[in-house]
Each structure stands twice: as C-alpha cells, then as structure tokens.
C-alpha cells in the first residue's frame, strides 16, 4: 500500500462521515484508510447509496406477487406481462443537480434512469417525468422550468425513447429545492433478464462506454447533503450528458446481450466505478481486482481517487465469459465506444485496486456493504389535521371552474409535453393528456399503460393518507384506461431525515403506501430515496412520487378521456360525500390549506375500479376519466375539452359535490342504449353509480349557471403555462 499522510478529522467530515462511521471503517480495515479508501467508504455509505435512513422502513413495503420476476435490489424492477415478455422499470430523482444546472441536471437524470433499465436487458420503450417547481412568482421558477423541460426533452428525444407522460406541480415549498424524478419503462424477453451479480473466478471485468473524466466527483454525497450558500462552490460537480453516446451504448449493449458473452452487468450511476464494482462483487459473493490505469480516461493525471469516484456519464461495467472479449470488443468498436478489460473476478472477497501495479486500495467487500450504517432515526407521528372549517362558495361554480382550469395547478401541461417526442418508436397509442399513457408492446396487439402520480399537499396534511392516496391514484389512472395494474416504482422525496418531524412524514407515507399496495395487489418492485431536500431549513412537501404500470390484453379495448359522441349519458361511479379538505378548490379560490385530505378507502377503491375495468374490457365503455385534483367538474370539463363536445350537467348546488376530491371515483360517457344495463350491473355489484349529465353542443352547462363555450374554456386552460413561460 502506498504511503500517504494520515487522514485528518476534517477530511472525515468533508467526506460526510460521522465519527462513529469512521470508527467502523477502522474496525473493518484493521488500520487507517488512505484517502482513496476513505472516498470509497464515503460514497458507499452516503445516504444515496446506502439508504441508511430509509432502509429500515423500505423493508416494510410489499414487494411480491406471482407476476413479479425481480423486486427491489437490482437496477430496476421486473414484472411478467405475459406472452413471454417482461416490463422493466424504475423511477429516480435528480433533484439537486437540476436545481444547480437545470438543463444538464435533468438530462443526466434521464440518462441515468435509462441505463438502469437497459442494463437489465430491456429496450427502453417509454420515459416519464414527475416535476415539482417552486411558486410561479418565485424569481427562479421560470428559468428552472425552461431548463428542466428542455433537458428532459433534449436527452430523451435524442436517444429516441418517447416521453409519454408525467406531472408538473408548483408550490412555494419547492422554491429552493425542485424535484426532477424520471422514470423509464423497458421491454425484454422474460427469460433473458440480465443481473449484476459478478461470478466466475478469473472472469474479465470490462468497462464500456465513455471515458472517465473528473466530472461529478462527490455527486452522490452532494445528493445527500442539505443546500446552503456554499452550494455555488459545489458547482463543478454537475455533469454534461451525451445522449448520442447513450444511444450508441443502448444499441451496443443490446447487441452484445443477444450473444451469450455477458455474465453480469451494471451501469455506473451515482458513485460511478466504485459503487458498480462493489455491488457486483457483493451480489456475487466474490472479490474484484481492478487495474485503475486501464480505465479509459478523458483527462491526464487523474488520481485513483478521482477515477474511482468520478460520476462521468454513459459508462457500464460488465463481467464477461472468458474468451468472449474479442467478440464483445468488435461490437463496441463498431459503435465507436470505449472498451477495456479493467480487472478480474477473484475469490479473495476483497475489492483491490492497482495503479501501474501498486495496490492503492484494498477493502473487504462484505463489510463495505454489510457494515454500512443503518439508522432507525427518531421520528414523530404527524399530528392529525384539524377538522375543516366551514366553506362557503366564493362565486358560482362555473366562474370557479374557469379560474381553476386557467391556474398553475390545473392548467394544461401541453407546453411541456410538446417539447417531448412522444411518438418515436411508433408504438405510442395514447399520448400525454390522458389519465395514463399507453404504449403498444411492439409487434403485438397488447399494451402497457404507464402513469406517475402523487399529491404532496395531501401527504403534508396526513402522510399516511397521502402515501396511500398516491398509490391509489396511480392504480386508478391505469384502471381508467382499462389496464390491469401490475406494479409500482417509487421515488421518495423528503427533507432532512435527522429531523424527527420529517422522518415522521417518511414513515407515515411508507406505511400508507404499503397498505395501499397490499389492498390493491400492487407491489413495489423498484424505487429510489432522495432525502435532505431542503434549503435553509425549509423542507419540501413530502413527495412520494409513484410510477405504475399496467397491462392491456387487447388494445382495441381501452378507454380515453375525450368525449366521442353527442347524446351520451355521463355516469358518475363512486360515492360523492363532498370532501373539501386540502382540495384545489380551497387552495386556489380561498387560499386555504386546511382540513384532512380525502380518506382513501382501499376496499372501495378496488371494488369501484374493478367494476370500471370490467366495463372497458368488455368493450362496453370506451370513454372514462378518473376524478382527482379539482374534483368532478374539472374532470368533466377535461373530457369535454379533449373531445371538443359539450356537456350539460345537473346535480346539487353544493361546492363539495362539484369540487370535492373524494377518492375512488370515475366518470363514464356511454351511449344512452347502454346506460340501463350499466346501472343495473352497478347496483348488483353495489357500486354507486348515477347519471349526472349528457353530451352535446358546444358549451359546458351546469344547472342554472351561465354556460361557457368550450373554445373559451380551452383557450384559457391552454394559455396559462405558455403565457407564464413567455413573460419575463
């Protein structure tokens, strides 16, 4: 081992390690680490890589179902979707880099999640993006929205994977800490999944993709630290994405995966070469020897520390079968990508790095992973919200609707998704704008439905209900297009877990999510945790973003929210109690954020959803929209605007009826001839169903309110976001 100066307490602190953690390192090594070793421990034990604050609670989430091929623990989750195919998917955060450099931060976020998915042998077929920004009035918001959206599009469009949906929220709680969560869904043959466990003593360890530079050194530790005014200093840790190289990497990897050369494969994400090699070695129960000087390098004079901790993008690590190196190299040469044998699998159980022959680090693999800290952080249960104070309607319902549809919460997101190529690959069946996107399983008549959802204001008021609601809404959005929900991925964005209140939010949300997953048979198969999302002690809203997929067995039988016919009857499915607590109505029209969020009754949710899905699968219903933000009247208006067909609605005058956000509800538009049969079936199944209107004309009409023309409604609904972005 090279002689190096002793590690100082300041260096330990700089690496984000506590004294106790440093003690463990001393015990593991039986000696003092050198700087490279300290760096390796620090990234492996960062919150981002070790999940030290959340592991305990994550273990409580249900992860199994007969159709789950691979749950959490690998690069992404894998579920069987029938016909010998598997869907592989995951969501991941890139919050901190996107706040510092929105374009590149968002772009490299998309690149990272794509790699997690094609690492496992899948061709990526769809991207999603769940975005949370500060208040529109905040000076930085516009610039951040522009940069993030351009970055998501810039990367996804270039690699040729359609971005088919997502969400956008604005709230002052994100002013200093935006959320950029990206999800990728891929498709593979169910019997050709690739895993990351290294195996085969003596097998070559191969590095492919881009060269290693000094980018993002300590990126993983940055994602685990709070922001402060020194943030500027950390700037060079931002990386520039190269989607062109990523596209080549996808093609080259998939080509190599068509042969039998690969024993194990892992992308280099956070903590780069360190994390990927250690994980591969640990999963396989083997050791790994690396020749650091063999790693392709973009810059001269890089130290082993820098090579091991670099977060350069577009790189992968593989263990190959001996003798297959030349054939593999030929493929990467064809795609003009770097290829280098950088090490061997060993039976020592140690992770050893050599630079020009000299050992520069030597760490036992198991303890590096197993001894990683795990904290059962103290937490306090979020206190129950006070009951909702009385609500009086500030204006007539149609006026309220117009304001809501033309505001930051509910206005059209077209300005965003038109910057994303949503139809490349020519398999997009339902583009953004509906409840869930639908992508055809290539070459078949089956499809995957995909959505992401979370209602952070509910999670703030009641984490438990909010966590359950996020899962339920995903399930409902998949159901609303007729898909059979299969599984979810999550991206848990929270503040500083060392604060018991924040930890309480995390615990509450996970508990609520878990309950919903069990009740809906909807396991978690992958996910990501992003903590310390706060600036100057101001935490974000608790935001457990959920991404879900479902399968459609016959694409001819799916539903869409756009009205298709005049003289249809509109049927409301589910019970409407008129729950106004934490609604958009309160928030936007009365500037109030009180009361409990709507309760999620999981059994009812499932019962109503199964009923609706049955109608769609039977071909009886082709027009359906679930009820969420904004409630009934907003959903009805969205259906009318999308289909360019008017609506005449009738019901009680109570604002709770039209704007309440009761869960487990759907609107159906059905030809008059089918109405009776549907209502009878509903009655038999004890599913609440009632007629609330009919389609036709060019206006939206509600009871005795003044009708509004659809074109006017649409104009203001479409205008808010582009107007906001174009004004400065």
């Amino acid at each position: 081992m090279r002689n190096e100066p002793n590690i100082t307490p300041a260096q330990v602190a700089e690496h984000g390690l506590s004294e106790a953690e440093y003690q463990t390192i001393l015990n593991v090594l039986g000696r003092e680490p050198n700087l490279t070793e300290l760096g390796i421990f620090s990234v492996m034990w960062s919150e981002h890589c070790s999940y030290k604050s959340s592991k305990f609670w994550l273990k409580t989430l249900p992860t199994e179902a007969p159709w789950v091929i691979c749950g959490p623990g690998e690069n992404a989750g894998v579920v069987d979707i029938g016909d010998g195919k598997a869907a592989i998917f995951k969501m991941e955060s890139h919050n901190h880099p996107s706040f510092i450099e929105p374009y590149q931060g968002a772009a490299t976020g998309v690149g990272g999640i794509l790699r997690d998915v094609f690492t496992m042998g899948a061709r990526p077929i769809a991207n999603m993006n769940a975005l949370r920004f500060g208040a529109p009035e905040d000076a930085k918001t516009r610039h951040l929205v522009a940069g993030v959206v351009a970055g998501v599009g810039g990367y996804g469009n270039c690699v040729g994977v359609p971005t088919v949906g997502g969400e956008v929220n604005f709230d002052a709680a994100y002013n200093g800490n935006i959320l950029v969560n990206a999800m990728t869904v891929g498709l593979a043959d169910a019997d050709k999944i690739f895993y990351s466990a290294a195996a085969g003593i003596g097998n070559p360890v191969v590095y492919v993709g881009s060269k290693t530079g000094r980018d993002g050194i300590h990126g993983a530790t940055m994602a685990s630290a709070e922001f402060d005014d020194a943030t500027e200093e950390k700037r060079p840790t931002v990386q520039v994405g190269d989607p062109f190289t990523e596209k080549l990497l996808i093609e080259a990897c998939l080509e190599l995966m068509g042969t039998d050369a690969i024993v194990a494969i892992q992308d280099m994400g956070a903590a780069g070469l360190t994390c990927s090699s250690v994980e591969m070695a640990d999963k396989g129960g083997v050791g790994l020897d690396l020749d650091i000087d063999k790693v392709p390098q973009r810059e001269t004079g890089m130290t082993p520390y820098e090579v091991m901790l670099s977060e350069s993008q577009e790189r992968m690590l593989m263990v190959l079968r001996p003798g297959s190196e030349d054939a593999a190299k030929a493929i990467f040469d064809k795609w003009q990508l770097d290829f280098a044998v950088v090490g061997r699998v060993t039976d020592t159980g140690r992770f050893i790095g050599r630079n020009n022959g000299a050992v520069v680090f030597d760490i036992p693999v198991r303890p590096l992973v197993d001894e990683s800290p795990e904290y059962e952080r103290p937490w306090v249960k979020t206190s129950a919200p006070a009951p909702l104070a009385a609500v009086t309607a500030p204006m007539d319902h149609m006026a309220a609707l117009q304001i809501m549809l033309a505001g930051p919460d509910l206005s059209s997101r077209r300005w965003v998704w038109e910057q994303y190529d949503n139809s490349v690959m020519a398999d997009t069946v339902r583009k953004p704008g509906g409840d869930a996107a639908i992508v055809r399983i290539h070459g078949s008549n089956r499809g995957l439905a995909i959505t992401t959802d979370c209602t952070p204001r509910y999670c703030l008021a009641d984490p438990h209900q909010g966590g359950a609601q996020a899962v339920a809404e995903v399930w409902r959005n998949l159901t609303a297009v007729g898909a059979r929900p299969l599984a979810i991925t999550d991206c848990l964005n929270f503040g500083n877990p060392e604060r018991p209140e924040t930890m309480g939010q995390l615990v509450g949300c996970i508990q609520g999510m878990g309950e919903a997953c069990i009740a809906l048979d909807f396991p978690v198969v992958s996910g990501n945790v992003s903590l310390y999302n706060e600036t100057h002690g101001q935490a974000i809203l608790p935001t457990p973003a959920i991404g879900g997929i479902g399968v459609l067995d016959d694409l001819e039988k799916h539903a869409d929210l756009a009205l298709r016919r005049t003289d249809d009857q509109i049927i409301l499915i589910g019970e409407t109690k008129g729950h106004l607590g934490q609604t958009i109505y309160l928030r936007q029209l009365l500037q109030r954020q009180d009361g409990p969020p709507p309760p999620v009754e999981l059994a009812v949710e499932r019962h109503n959803g199964d009923f609706v899905r049955g109608l769609i699968a039977a071909g009886t219903v082709d027009t359906c929209h679930d009820l969420s933000d904004g409630g009934l009247l907003v959903a009805a208006a969205e259906m009318a605007m999308a289909g360019d067909i008017g609506l005449d609605l009738n019901g009680p005058d109570d604002p709770g009826f039209w704007f309440g956000e009761d869960q487990g509800r759907y609107l159906l538009s059905v030809p008059a001839t089918l109405v009776d049969a549907i209502l009878q079936q509903a009655e038999k199944r004890q599913v609440p169903a009632q007629i609330i209107g009919r389609t036709g004309g060019e206006t939206l009409t509600l009871n005795t309110c003044e009708p509004i023309s659809l074109s006017r409604l649409r104009r203001s609904h479409e205008a808010w976001l582009p107007d906001y972005m174009n004004s400065n």
């Binding site: 881009s210 530079g213 980018d215 700037r235 060079p236 931002v238 520039v240 190269d242 973009r298 810059e299």
Partner: protein
C-alpha cells in the same frame, strides 16, 4: 462598438459535440487531430462607445445570461480596443 463573446466549456467538462466532431474528422481521413472543443461565439452590436463601460456591460450580460458559469467560461473581445 462591436463585442464578441466566446463561451466555452470549462476544462474538465465533457464536450460531447467536440468529441463527435473529432471522431467524424478522423473518420473522414483527417490525421493528427487532437482534442476538438465546440463553443459559442456571440456577437453584439452596442450603442456604448466607451470601451470600459462596454466591457462592464458585456461582463454583466455574460454573468446574467450569455454564459452558464456552472459549466462554462467566457471571454470578451471588443472592437476598437
């Protein structure tokens, strides 16, 4: 007065465009090509005729808009200076 602002990636920042250009030049048969970097050149016409003031103004423009100082450097050239 005319100002020319040259914006380029900081050293150490990956320049995917430059990389691809270098590759293509090699594929086209050009030999002896080392690193290739692509930057932006922004040319501005300014009403200001005092060079000092002009430089100050352009510097402010760079900091505020023209360069992304997280990953880019800038250099300013003024006509008649």
């Amino acid at each position: 007065m005319k100002a020319r602002v040259h914006v380029s990636y900081k050293t150490g920042v990956l320049d995917p465009q430059g990389k691809a250009i270098g590759l293509t030049l090699k594929n086209l048969g050009f030999a002896g090509i080392g690193e290739v970097r692509q930057g932006k050149l922004i040319e501005l016409e300014l009403a200001e005729s005092d060079a000092n003031k002009a430089r100050k103004a352009v510097e402010a423009m760079c900091e505020k808009l023209l360069a992304n100082t997280v990953i880019e450097n800038y250099a300013i050239e003024l006509d008649n200076e």
